[in-house]
Structures are given as C-alpha cells and as structure tokens.
Symmetry: C2
C-alpha cells in the first residue's frame, strides 16, 4: 500500500472514532492545541523562516512572501482562531425535523460528520490550523496538503496539532499532513473515494480546475468571486455611495469585494460622477461602458474581458444598464454565483432581485463584504462554495456535516 | 457548437425562466402532462413495441425485457405518478432560519432550484416521466439520457412532455432528451459544468462508476445497497423474525432489501433455526458463518465475498457476532452506507446503534424496506445517495434545491 493510501486509510479509521467523541473532549483538545501553538512560537518562526528564505531565493513575488511569513502576532491570532472554533456549538448529533409518520414510525435527521475531509491549499500556513480546528470540532478527520512554499511551516504546525491529539487521548490520524509536495501525491489522493468524503481546494482558479478535473471525490469549490452591486433607480444615493465604496476598497484583494458596479440609467448622471471621484480618491481605476464614459471624464473603456474579470485589486468595471432586468441578465451572464447586492428603496425591485439572482449570497442595501461565514452567523468558515451542491456560499461547521435519517419503529414492516 | 452543448446551453436558459415560475403554473403543467400521457396510450405502446421487439431480437434477458415493456396499466401509473408529484409542496422560495445578526442585518436562507439536472439512466421508461416531473416541480431543467434499449419509448414520452410545456407557455427546453445513444454524447455531457449543475446516474454499479470517473459535474449516487439487520441480545425475537422476513423477501430485488443478517451470539441458538426455516419456506438460500452452520443444518458456508455482496435476490448472508461492537464493525467494514436496522429492547444498544452507524438510513425495530422517499415522508424520490455530500439517503424535492443566503440591510458596511 502506498504512503498516501495508508494515510487516507488511517484517517478513515480515525474518523470513525472522532464521530463518537463528545463535545467537551473535542473542545479541551482544541484549547490545548491553541496553547501549544502559542508555546511553540520560537520553533514555528524558525521553521517558517526556512520557507521564507527559500521563497526569497527562488524569487517568489513580494505579496506572496508576505502571505507566507508568520509573526508572533500571526501565531497568537492562529491560536485565538482555534479557541474561537472551540467555543462554537458542536453540530454533530443534532436531530432536525423529527416527526411521526401516519404509520407511527418516528423519522428524523441527525447531523453526522462527513468523515474524512481533504483540503488542498496554497501559501498561507494559518489555513493548516484553521482547517484542522474546524474539522476536529465537527468530528471529521482531515488530510491536509499545503503548498510547497509553506512546506516547513505546515509540517511544524501539523506536528504540534498531532502531538496534542495524542496527549488528549484522541487519534493522531485525525489530522494528517501529506509529507511531500509531489504532485503525484495529490493525484493519488483525489482517487481515494473509499477513504475520503470530500475535497475542498482553497487557492487560485488554476489549482481548483485541476482538482475538479482529476477528482473522483466530490469537490466543494469556488472558482472566483466576480461580485456586483446594482444601484437601482430608487436607491438612496448616499447609501449607495457608502456601500459601493466599502464593497470595493475595504479589502480589494478578497473574493467578496465588488468587481463590477451596475447603475440604473435613471440615476447614472446624478450618481456616477461623484461616486467615481470618491473611488479615485482611494486610488481605484475605473473601466467603464460607453455611457459611463459619456458621464465621467477620463474613464478607460471597458472591454468584453472586463465584465467577467476578478481583479482582486483597485480596479472597477462600471456599466450603466437600462433597468433591473438588464442588471439581472448581466449578473447571470458574467457573474460567478458568488455575491451580489442591490441598493434600492423600491419594494418590488428588492423582492425581484432577491428571488431572481441565483448567486450564493444576495443582499439588499448592504455591502458584498458581508458574504463571509463569520458575518452571516456561521461562526467561522472552511471555505465558500459557488457550486449549488451541498453548500452554497460560506460553509461553516454545519456544512462539514451530513444528515442521516434516523427511524424509530415498533416492529414496523411493509 | 455541438448538439449536446447546445442542448445544455438551452437547458441553462430554460432553468433561469423555470426558477421564477409560480407553483400553480407548474402544477397545471404537470397535470396536463399526465392527461396527455394517458391520452397517448396508443402511440406510446406502439413506440414501446419497437423497443421491445428489438430487445427480443438482440436477445436481452427476459427480466430486462419485462422492465422495458409498457402496458396500459403502467402508462396509467406513470400519469398518476406525475399527478402525485404535482400535488407535493413546492420547495422553491422557502426561507429557512431567518434571523437578525447583532449588527441588525437580517440573514436567512432561501431554497432555489439547483438549475440544470442531468439524469443518466437505464432500461425502465417510466423514469423519464418521474424524473422530469420531479425536476419541473422543483423548478429545475432536466436533461435526460435514457438507455439505448428504451430509446423509442423515451423519445415518445419526452416528446409529449415537451409539447405540453409549449402549450402551457413554459420553455420546451425545461425537459430535454439526448437524441442519441452514442456513448460519446454522455462523455461530452459530463464535461459541461458551466451548464449542468448535478448529474444523477440511476442504474447498475458499472454505469455509476463510469459516470463518476468522467464527470466534472458533481454526481449524486449510490453504488449499491448492502443492507444489514442486527438482532441484538435483547431483541423481541418474534418482532425480529417478522422484520427480517419483510426486509429480505418482500421485494428482494430492490436496494433497501436486507442482504446480511447479523445475530448476537446470546440469542443465535434460540433465534436462527426458526428464522432460517421461515426463510427457507420463502425460497431464501442461506450462506452462513461457521457458527451459523453449527446451529442450522445444511447451510452453505459464506465466503469472504458474501459479506460485501448485494445479491438483489433470494439469498441471505448470516453471521453470528459476539456483541454490538462487532456488529457495528462488520457494517462499517462491509456495508455500503445505505440502510441498517437494529432489533432490540435495550435503550443503550438502540442509542449506540443510532449514533455510531453512519449509514444514510439507520432504523430501530423497523424493516430496512422503509428506506424510501415515500415512506420517510419526502413524497417521492429522484434517487438515493450514499455519498454524504448534499443528500444522504432518499432524495426528494428539497434535495433538488440549493439554499442561497438572502441578506437584508439598511446601508450596512464593514
């Protein structure tokens, strides 16, 4: 048996034990993990230093090196993140919708862990601790496969988590880290459907497409976040300005930042010149449709490839649309099913937008930046899904569970 | 653009319209479909006759020809099935768990159709009408790809459904039938993740494995149903006998029939001889473990390959186990995550079985035959999933939906 297969088989064994572990024991283990991570700040920084030096040597771009680098503060935050996960409600064992059938059978649905979760991710080492904590809390075993740039950091973090598991009398194989950055290992992992229940890739579109193409295991994914705000004819324009500014500039590099602004033609002339001026104060480059260009000077013309673009940067595509229908059509055609918001005072427009836009998060009069597990009340998120199966939108502890049917009878036969 | 891609693209367009269609219009269309199918009994039997003759010519096995053949009665039942789906509650638009966040944002989750559902199935033509009705009711467009044996029957049924859609002013492309039995068409269909949201294969394990291996689209599947009944030490043995008999012989060819009987060693001597005699009266062949053989005469010895076997026939594997733990271990090792039942009077055994058996349907004191959408209160089922993602167990109208987040703000920014 290959090493990867053996890791997966052991994770499957561990998952059977984990599924039965009580909440208080899982919580104690998580708190112990947080403590030990803080206690190992020195060794962690040392191992991270190896990665960072290597990254500089091979000429990794500055922002990527920055995301890779750990600090005393980022380690404290990592530990704090684990403590927060520990304090969330345990979803396992909750029975929903229990009721009696006409024949007296009692039928309900009980949340159970998915089993073994495979996470394939890039760069940032804190994902190692985050993902492991969420999986442990929800009773899942996790197999981690981090990026090659963070290899030493990830191994060091995982080693601490595994030591803690043993000390807490839980199976060490509840958290596994693939011990190689060999691509063949990932390919093999993606075939092991008898041991792994779900694959969650976190990283760039290329990574995710490669995983989807090769995996026999269900994949929960989002390729990109091309989020829209539509400023309706009836919008409170002051509110629109504040929401749009927040959606674009508060954190432009994240997937729930606005990438395209759609403006109803009836308010474009009143709204756009001032709005663009505010954006420009913040260093945002505007790429506009012809009508936008007529209303605002010095706007670069948007090309067809700007509409589906995820800039993740201080760039914004702007389009003036005839009406709500055109806005909804634009979103359906160019959007990524991630997050869209309408700014309106009109009841019918709000209702139609909520009903007809099929993205995973649809907002009225709020910034797209709220498309986040924490903000929406899930506590923490293991990822965001823009595939409608299983989870759609931010995915928290509940989405790391399945629901099985439980049926209580009294000798019932058909 | 290829023909398959064009069908999928049109289905995607249709799905956007369907998602908005009110329940009453969908119900009216379904009732009209049922009426037109009944009205077309003659032409349907004629087209079905072409398939049946061809099947006999190529020497298809008798039971397969039987499943293929339609009758006046089966056409009436098909129409009745559509009417029953029409009467089920529409899941689309239901908002669950709406509540207020600390910052005043109102967050809920709204059920929306998955979008485009691809169904790949074998033999029985009634699946064409069943699947189309469930998809239409839940606001999904469906692309059907039936088996080559039922080609003419399926085309004839689909044509009636499509005519009715047009007459009811709904998009004809809400129901599409792949117009060829060419395997390359299926392969192409499985790559169209931009148009198709989920693939549901219904058929033998070989078909399903081929679909999983090739699909980039999420697949909801169950490979097989190796269902267990465990007769605990404290079981009411009369109840155990009645439940086991029902689970095995009421319909042995279906996936929720019992395939392996596990018996606690403390009751094996009292229970097994009588139970086996009852089974033999019904023509069931017993394949037993060594201890079973000691207790009952003339039992064929079970081999290792009997434990994971789905016989779908009047054959039963029987094993005497030391205790509940061994029973749960056996199920985890050889089971298919489908359906398992415990017969017991002991509170702790029932609780442990419910908690620790991770199959999609877990029963206490009831026949495995209740693992069925209708019996569990889903109304009807589009399939059964033994993969924990999205749906686990029987899958009804709700599982043909996703849940998007809807967020109501008042100018909220982060």
């Amino acid at each position: 048996m290959s090493e990867i297969r053996e890791i997966a088989r052991e994770a499957r064994e561990a998952s059977r034990i984990l599924a039965k572990v009580r909440s208080d024991r899982k919580e104690r283990a998580l708190r112990a993990m947080a403590d030990r991570i803080e206690g190992a700040t020195g060794p962690l920084l040392e191992q991270n230093g190896v990665d960072v030096r290597k990254a500089r040597e091979v000429g990794l771009p500055g922002p990527m090196v920055e995301r890779l680098a750990m600090t005393e503060r980022s380690i404290r935050e990592m530990a704090q993140g684990i403590r927060e996960v520990s304090a969330l409600p345990d979803p396992v064992g909750e029975i929903v919708r229990m009721g009696r059938r006409p024949n007296g059978l009692v039928v309900g649905r009980m949340r159970i862990p998915l089993g073994v979760v495979g996470i394939i991710y890039e760069a940032r080492p804190n994902v190692t601790a985050d993902a492991a904590a969420l999986c442990l809390k929800s009773g899942n075993a996790v197999i981690l496969r981090g990026g090659s740039e963070a290899f030493h950091s990830n191994q060091a973090i995982a080693a601490i988590l595994r030591e803690t598991l043993v000390q807490e009398d839980l199976p060490r194989e509840a958290v596994s880290m693939i011990p190689t950055t060999d691509r063949a290992a990932v390919r093999e992992m993606l075939q092991l459907e008898e041991y792994i229940d779900v694959i969650i890739p976190r990283g760039g579109e290329e990574l995710i497409r490669a995983v989807v193409a090769e995996s026999r295991i269900p994949v929960i994914k989002h390729y990109k976040g091309v989020c829209h705000v539509f400023v309706d004819a009836s919008a409170d324009l002051e509110m629109a300005e504040s929401v749009c500014l927040n959606a674009k500039v508060q954190r432009p590099a994240v997937c729930n930042a606005m990438e395209t602004l759609l403006v109803h033609q009836d308010v474009a002339e009143r709204f756009l010149p001032g709005m663009v001026a505010r954006f420009r104060e913040q260093g945002v480059e505007i790429r506009g449709c012809p009508r936008t260009k007529q209303l605002v000077s010095d706007v670069k013309e948007a090309r067809e490839e700007d509409w589906p673009a995820e800039y993740n940067d201080l760039i914004l595509a702007v389009r003036v649309v005839e009406d709500l229908d055109r806005a909804i059509d634009h979103i359906a055609r160019y959007g990524s099913d991630h997050t869209e918001s309408i700014i309106t005072r009109d009841y019918a427009s709000a209702q139609r937008f909520l009903q007809e836009v099929q993205s995973s998060v649809v907002l009225v009069n709020a910034s797209t930046r709220f498309a986040d597990g924490n903000q929406l009340g899930l506590g923490a998120e293991i990822g965001i899904s823009t595939t409608k199966l299983h989870a759609y939108g931010p995915m928290g502890l509940e989405e790391l569970c399945a629901r099985k049917f439980v049926v209580l009878g009294d000798g019932h036969v058909r």
